[in-house]
């Protein structure tokens, strides 16, 4: 399976990588257990910074689309196809939208929501 990175595209490079790997999993081109190239190999082949590829892999691992098996390398997760359907960004946006709507209904102004959001983000867990 070929992967293409367009450096002129406004979409960040790590997101282009994530999208294409997810698309390949959804299409069945990448199957559960398939080996993926190492971060160094992919970064060198695409002439990208290895941190960019590492970030993409980290996010894919968080979404359980891929899994790292120590020194043996990175593989497609056994439930990758099902996990690809979950779009965390979309889900977060929907949840936040619902909360903002509730707060507006309660009479909270946008400025207060913004300040509260920054405060909540900066608060230590």
């Amino acid at each position: 399976m070929d992967i293409t990175i367009d450096i002129d595209n406004s979409v960040p490079q790590f997101e282009q990588l994530i999208e294409q790997i997810k698309a390949a999993v959804k299409a069945g081109v990448l199957k559960a257990g398939d080996a993926l190239p190492s971060i160094r190999q992919l970064a060198n082949d695409l002439e990208l910074n290895s941190k960019t590829v590492a970030k993409a892999y980290k996010l894919l691992e968080r979404d359980s689309v891929i899994e790292t098996k120590g020194y043996r390398g990175t593989y497609v997760h056994p439930r990758a196809k099902a996990n690809c359907k979950i779009n965390l960004q979309e889900w977060t946006l929907r949840k936040l939208g619902e909360t903002v709507a509730e707060l507006r209904e309660a009479g909270v102004t946008d400025s207060e929501i913004r300040n509260a959001f920054v405060g909540a983000i900066n608060r230590q867990p």
Binding site: D6, I21, A24, L42, D45, E47
Partner: protein, 279 residues
Amino acid sequence: MIEAYAFLAAFSMQILVVSMLHPVWFTKFARAKGEAQLPGWDRNFRERFLNLYRAVNIGITVFGLVLLGWLFNHMRSPDWDVGPVTLLLRGYIVVQVLPFVIVSLIGAWVKKNALKRSPPEVKRTVRLQRRGLFDFVSPLTVFLAVVGYFLFAAFVIYIQQHPFPGFSGYRLLRAVTLIYAVNAFGVYWVLYRRKRWPLETSAYRMHAVGVQIKIVFYTSIAVIVFLSLNVTLLLLDMQRWVPFALSVYFVLIMLFTSVMLFALRRQAEADRLGPSPAS
């Protein structure tokens, strides 16, 4: 006398393969690679350069034939001395290899300059496939190279217990260890180096990686076999066979390089005609 005639036959073959056939094969490869990967480059410059390369090799062939005549005269005598013959042979090997090394270095320099002038590649496409050593070379070859090294080390250590005049001992083992270390680094670098050349297709790159790795492994094994053979000849007091062994070894290495050049040329021609499904 049989060793003298065997050497003269091997030396004639060496002149034919290294200075006559190899330059022709290399020129064809350089032309195909240039057309595929340096389409904008001045063809006249390339042709002039390649013609000069072939002319130099013709000169080296003539020199080799003169040398062959001298060796024939020298080795007709039953008490011919192996020292000067080996020395001349080594010198001639350097002379034969030098144009190939120089032309390869100039090729790399031309490519580097062209790369500096070319704009960065906007769309970068690669195959999402893990590369490993065994994708390019069989486990048996790797096993042979590794076992060969340890057997050679054991052989040298054993002979060191009963040394004989002319045996280099641990220096030989150190040299082989250095060659293996450089080769190991070379394999790693070839497998994971950055893709720098925009017009190099994925198929060509994978092909080149495979060829380079095979060259490294096969030459590692060949070095071990040749040195073991050389030490054995000295051990059996058959020093007069050393020039023959050296000449045959050199011809085999150059023939092997030529086979690799054929493979790369075919891929470069395929790339020029159109992208392959794998690229």
